[in-house]
């Protein structure tokens, strides 16, 4: 029992990261209508800038800032591609384009970072925050979950209490009507891409030491992130947050049970399947009434 609890708590850091990445995915979807498969890859690019600078002997925190800046720039660049050339495309076309971009980014990233070559990823927040039921809860897990909650609260405040937030909601509702009113649509969209790029990068920097910090594995964290977003049906930030944490916990527990541990990367898939079936059922229920 205690072993199960320990591994569940160990899954919290991953869960916090899934939650934060998922919340960013929902933010992007709601405001610029793109299901973004490059979310984690953007953060990975920023994280590898940190690794490169750190390995070259630069001090840690300036390197972290430079990495976040780089992640922001990559996010804005992808946003530019999406708004400039695919602004009018359908949701599925846009999603497909981000898949293609993901493949491209991974290829370039692996090439630049030397493939499976091991890297020295500094732990930004080593140590444990507190003990819960006799189990150490790491600072990293508290931080990622806290950051995801903070992002959710800030996004809400920002969207509901500022003029830029209001313009973003108008843009999400009817892009053309917003543009006809002189709203600077392209700039606003790039702002969304930049903000999510920055947050995603920081999240990945925290989780990277616990994963094999290889460009591909980190980029593919987008899969559990999108599974979390799906739990929130790409609308609710809080349900996405809960979905991400839940996913991390289940994954953690699965890793301690020998018979299922080698299938644990399939868990996001099971979650996606369950949510889709469940929402189907609800739709059928609605029809029947």
């Amino acid at each position: 029992m205690n072993a199960l609890l320990t591994s569940a708590v160990a899954g919290l850091t991953a869960g916090g990261t899934y939650a934060l990445l998922g919340v960013c995915a929902v933010f992007t979807y709601r405001l610029v209508a793109v299901v973004n498969f490059t979310g984690a890859a953007i953060g990975t690019a920023g994280t590898f800038v940190l690794i490169a600078l750190y390995e070259a002997g630069f001090p840690l925190w300036p390197s972290v800032l430079a990495g976040i800046a780089a992640g922001t720039v990559v996010g804005v660049a992808i946003g530019f591609i999406m708004t400039r050339w695919f602004g009018e495309a359908s949701a599925s076309t846009k999603a497909a384009v981000t898949v293609a971009l993901l493949v491209g980014i991974i290829a370039i990233g692996l090439r630049l970072t030397g493939g499976q070559h091991p890297h020295n990823m500094p732990e930004l927040f080593p140590g444990s925050a507190f003990r819960m039921a006799g189990v150490e809860v790491t600072i990293a897990s508290v931080l990622t979950i806290g950051l995801a909650a903070l992002f959710t609260i800030l996004a809400d405040l920002f969207l509901n209490n500022t003029k830029v937030g209001l313009n973003l909601r108008a843009l999400a509702d009817r892009p053309m009507a917003a543009e006809l009113l002189g709203i600077r649509v392209q700039m606003l969209s790039l702002l969304v891409w930049g903000m999510t790029g920055a947050f995603t990068t920081f999240a990945l920097m925290i989780i990277a030491p616990q994963r094999s910090p290889n460009f591909m594995t980190l980029s593919l964290l987008v899969v559990p992130a999108l599974a979390a977003a799906l739990v929130g049906l790409f609308r609710s930030f809080w349900r996405t947050l809960a979905g991400g944490i839940g996913l991390g916990l289940v994954e953690g527990m699965a890793s301690s049970v020998d018979s299922v541990s080698q299938y644990r990367s399939a868990i996001p898939f099971l979650v996606v399947l369950a949510v889709l079936l469940w929402s189907q059922r609800e739709a059928r229920w609605d029809e029947a009434r």
Binding site: K163, L166, N167, R169, A170, A172, D173, R174, M176, A177, A178, E179, L180, L181, G182, I183, R184, V185
Partner: protein, 230 residues
């Protein structure tokens, strides 16, 4: 000189010409009415003017400045406002939020409420829950807050009760009287002609009549002939 001058404008849709070599002008303080049956190309014309779709050739100028190559947002900042067909309110936003989106440093919510006092008590209601007439008032007021020089309005009377339509028409007349140049697209001619100054009739993408609104209003036979062709 006219506020809005459209010369020799052609617009294609799916590669086919829908608006061909069209000339139209709108003066400050006046309403130019564009009439025409279904599919004549009226909406296409307005969408080309505001930049929703590209124009194939010709020019569009406000105060002599050509804008036909600019993005919609730039045209808006040059003084063009387009009230689209179909009452395009921001559905998830309240009435007041809809208005605040287009609020500029030089404009004031009070102007919108002065034009349509009906909206005051609907301030905090989600726009998707407003009646059709209220939504139409909202999109006109919203366009007004961008401080336009030229206002394009597409079929604002569609699906509304006659008393509401009369109300909207008189509001639009008031805007023109305050100096705005208005291009009013309508399918139902009589009311539009009664508040308008210059009348254009379009058929299959071309202007087939350009004259005085009053004169056309007094000769329904002529109007009928223009609509049906021949």
């Amino acid at each position: 000189m006219s506020k809005l001058v459209v010369s020799n404008l052609s617009i294609n849709r799916a590669e086919l010409p829908v608006v061909s070599s069209l000339d139209i002008a709108v003066e400050s303080g006046a309403i130019s009415v564009v009439l025409g049956s279904n599919g004549a190309g009226k909406t296409t014309l307005l969408e080309g003017l505001s930049g929703i779709i590209p124009v194939a050739s010709g020019s569009i100028a406000i105060d002599g400045r050509e804008i036909q190559k600019a993005r919609p947002g730039v045209r808006s900042r040059e003084g063009l406002a387009h009230v689209e067909q179909g009452r395009t309110v921001f559905r998830q936003l309240t009435t007041e939020e809809n208005l605040r989106v287009s609020l500029h440093s030089g404009s004031d919510l009070a102007e919108a409420y002065a034009l349509f006092p009906e909206l005051v008590q609907r301030r905090t209601v989600k726009a998707s829950l407003l009646s059709g007439g209220e939504q139409q008032m909202l999109v006109i007021a919203r366009a007004l807050l961008t401080r336009p020089k030229v206002l394009l309005i597409d079929e604002m009377s569609a699906g509304l009760a006659p008393v509401i339509v009369t109300r909207l028409m008189s509001a639009v007349r008031k805007l023109a009287d305050n100096g705005l140049a208005v291009l009013l697209v309508e399918q139902f001619a009589a009311l539009a002609l009664s508040i308008g100054n210059r009348a254009y009739v379009m058929r299959r993408g071309r202007v087939v009549h350009d004259g005085d609104c009053m004169k056309l209003l007094k000769s329904p036979d002529e109007l009928h002939r223009l609509y049906l062709g021949g």
